[in-house]
Subunit: 315 residues, 2 copies
Amino acid sequence: MPGLPNATEAFVTLVTNPEYGLGAAVLGYKLRAVGTTRATVVMVTETVPETTRAMLAKTWDKVLDVTQLDSKDSDRLAMLKRPELGITFSKLNVWKLNQYKKVVFVDADTMPLSNIDDLFQYEELSACRDAGWPDCFNTGLFVLAPSPDTYKAIMKRACEEGSFDGGDQGLLNAHFSTWSHGDISKHIPFSYNVNPNASYTYLPAYKHFADQVKMVHFLGAVKPWHYQYANGKVQGQNLTEHTRKFLEEWHKVAEMVKQSYYQPTSAAPYVPPMSTGSTKPAAPSSHVVPDDVSSVLSHITAQIKNKEKAKSSMY
Amino acid sequence: MPGLPNATEAFVTLVTNPEYGLGAAVLGYKLRAVGTTRATVVMVTETVPETTRAMLAKTWDKVLDVTQLDSKDSDRLAMLKRPELGITFSKLNVWKLNQYKKVVFVDADTMPLSNIDDLFQYEELSACRDAGWPDCFNTGLFVLAPSPDTYKAIMKRACEEGSFDGGDQGLLNAHFSTWSHGDISKHIPFSYNVNPNASYTYLPAYKHFADQVKMVHFLGAVKPWHYQYANGKVQGQNLTEHTRKFLEEWHKVAEMVKQSYYQPTSAAPYVPPMSTGSTKPAAPSSHVVPDDVSSVLSHITAQIKNKEKAKSSMY
């Protein structure tokens, strides 16, 4: 049963804002739908409002606060010199969860298509090859063994060297640098972390291996929640057939999440989130605002339309 | 010394038309410039005109005719049912070159930046991961041990199953299907087969590993010879800094090849190549037409301009 208090293995994700909150809600729902037997844990930063936390509490076993670092902490001070690494540092908190012997970390913009519990047979650090620079691993999915010592070692590297890509992927590839040509048993098949958006680079392979895809990862700036969805169809041009299929599957689940987990009440006026970097957390609310997700989606849709308008005026 | 008659190891490429002929001329020049001690062999199909063969003879040790298959040959007949595999079948001829114990096959749209002779330490079948679907290998570069038996086995598979991408990469990945998660010593570092055009997928890694790049591979529809080049600069928009650098290096060598290997004579009127699929070979010529490469480049440039014009009118 998921959520057993003495579970030793867990799926973990990270949420830093309401948009990724919806992504994580879909992911949590999907993990249960495909029948995981492991605990599911979502780490949230102080920038995540109460409404999002409440939604997450219904699709994940545990909602854990992270980044409550002491301001006198030397790690924290070092981090402040590299503000761009803030979210990366939040992700590193997964190594502190040593109530679990093994964790599969998955980004909140991923969606499993079938049971992926067999990932727990892999050892730290296992991951899939990155489409783009395939001698790096992609940190949208990785297997780790939580340990405060490892946490400190990675933190130390981050403070001393930074990250070659300004995020967790560069940092973790530098730390686990033997992964590329070391033990091949730590190379998880690419079918567990497939970016449908990248299909144009080698479309025939995407088609050929389509029925082996276990999990999709919506990499890039445009996320599933940025697309309009109505009557079971996603609105969007230049989408390949399988990208459209995965996006529609995501939205189908998002609709279910909204319908199943939001109980209509009299809603307080919704203030859409502006940015995550320096935003103060929203005032705690004792109930779930029913139109939260819809409002976020409308807000984002308007933003995209404005961006597209600005872009098209460049031609 | 390159070209020793009793060499047991060779770099091999394939040329099927004049455009790739120029690519191969640059590649052959570069292989010598970076000091290879192995033989260099270019396989040419019947569609390659004499002028191109003459140019290649000056930058490669051997120019070998391939695809002169007997029309009564059962392999040939099977191939005719799959005309799209014609060029793939030509490439497979490399397994017939059993005068060599080991071969490094390199596509004609590649360019080594430094000596890559250490590739001969790898065993069949070694290759780099494909940026796009990284559990496949990219067949722009691979190490093989020529053998008529292997040739027949791959040919048999091609006739029975075809190729999932319609080319050699799908076929060879299906044949050497254990490569992905088998022996990691057959995984050549990605730095030996880097596609500069794909940089947008993970630009920070391209920058971080830039000084490790051993060979670039100009994947995709737009090849180096499609760009205009003048005064040491390549004309092109939306090129990343390192793509531009590699393209200018390629053109610098192309200029050298043209200046070093073309002797002006009274030229016959030049007829630009139209298509490679069913083109008859050009009439043999006893001399090198001086403006051959320039004319091809002008012709292609005009084609690109027309395409761009047609494309821009779509906005």
